[in-house]
Symmetry: C2
Subunit: 209 residues, 2 copies
DNA sequence: GACAAATTCAAACAGTCGTTTCATACTATC
DNA sequence: GATAGTATGAAACGACTGTTTGAATTTGTC
């Protein structure tokens, strides 16, 4: 009774999350994962059907809540500003912060894993990723063009890609570089700085011309 | 006599370049590569010692000339402006263009491969990459702080990372997104647009505050 | 406690991987 | 033309991969 059947599933997801981040999604073996989860090798195929099934589940469990929060924040902001426009900086913050919060989540491997998922080209990941991101991209694009009326749709799309690239590069940043950003000693502050830096950099880029 | 011993080496490098881009650096197998190069399976170990040796050689052959051109361009620009400062936009262009030129190189897989090398975390790639990039980063950082005097070293480093991220995201851009950027029909023009877009976006970000 | 469903387990399957071996072919130099 | 050095060839090695099997065990229900 202490361990309902769902527990093995979640131990597997946790172990896979860590192994994917440390070794790479394709490189991490089921034997490594199941050993870390203290589960049997066959458990992955039993619970998720295949390794791809496990990958998809890890991906959705990770980015699902992040994107849900993004959508919620945009809706709240648009409601708050009624029929006035949402300031660009605030809009960007609602897109970037849910991801950057992962730095302070206590699970320090998460930012790396998010970056890995974004750059993974295998069909299992790419298709799931596209499906999960599609509504968020659409929502933010139209909000963006309201916040910066001079923006054409092509430019909004392209600069959105630039912003995502800058964000992902931040997620996979070398810890040494990260150390540069904090007064030393504190460990949760630099992320806020990172968010501000990213917002001002991108906002300036979005507004140009 | 028609085929000196160096030819197999280069066929292997070419085949590896393509396979690494298409399938991933770790995922591409030596059997796939040697078959495409019409060489024997053992040829890789004979010419490069190991798969890691092949990877390192492909990496250096690819990014070596790019970074050499970057350094040359900065030197030329600084000579041209004598003791005056190099305009920020021009400086960024000297950093970005050598990479973006790969879109027009006729080898359409190269941008993807550059992106893969940047995000690869295996020691063989990460160490070689760091060694190759180090002089370029140092050179551009100090030039950057001359072009934008208000910039602190931490900000210059961080915003440099943002720019690299935006560049890499552009390199791995979905062809569908790329199609949005051109009037249709032409195939070499959109890259120039991409360069201009990237330069203005980043220049605005670098200058802010 | 008996029954049925869900879960775990050890073991093996078939396949792929990078690497090595050693024999064969080529290519220069004398 | 024999010889040394370079390159290619077919084949096998051992180690790993994801997946499957079928029996053993645990779990929830009556």
């Amino acid at each position: 009774m202490a361990t309902p059947p769902a527990e093995t599933r979640e131990r597997l997801l946790d172990a896979a999350e860590l192994a994917f981040a440390q070794e790479g999604i394709q490189q991490a073996s089921l034997r490594t994962i199941t050993a870390a989860a203290q589960a049997n090798l066959a458990a992955v195929n039993y619970h998720f059907g295949s390794k791809d099934g496990l990958i998809r589940e890890v991906l959705q469990r990770l980015v699902g809540p992040i994107n849900a929060e993004r959508l919620q924040r945009v809706s709240d902001a648009e409601a708050k500003y009624a029929d006035k426009i949402v300031p660009l900086e605030e809009l960007l913050r609602h897109f970037l912060e849910p991801t950057l919060q992962m730095f302070a989540s206590g699970r320090s491997h998460i930012p790396t894993l998010i970056s890995r998922f974004h750059h993974e080209t295998s069909p299992a990941v790419a298709e799931t990723m596209a499906a999960v991101l599609e509504p968020v991209v659409g929502r933010f694009l139209q909000a963006l063009m309201r916040s910066v009326p001079s923006l054409t749709i092509e430019r909004a799309l392209l600069r959105g890609q630039f912003m995502v690239g800058a964000l992902l590069e931040t997620l996979s940043l070398n810890p040494e570089v990260l150390k540069l950003m904090q007064p030393a000693g504190v460990d949760s502050l630099p992320r806020l700085n990172m968010l501000d830096e990213l917002v001002t950099f991108c906002a300036a880029g979005f507004r140009h011309e």
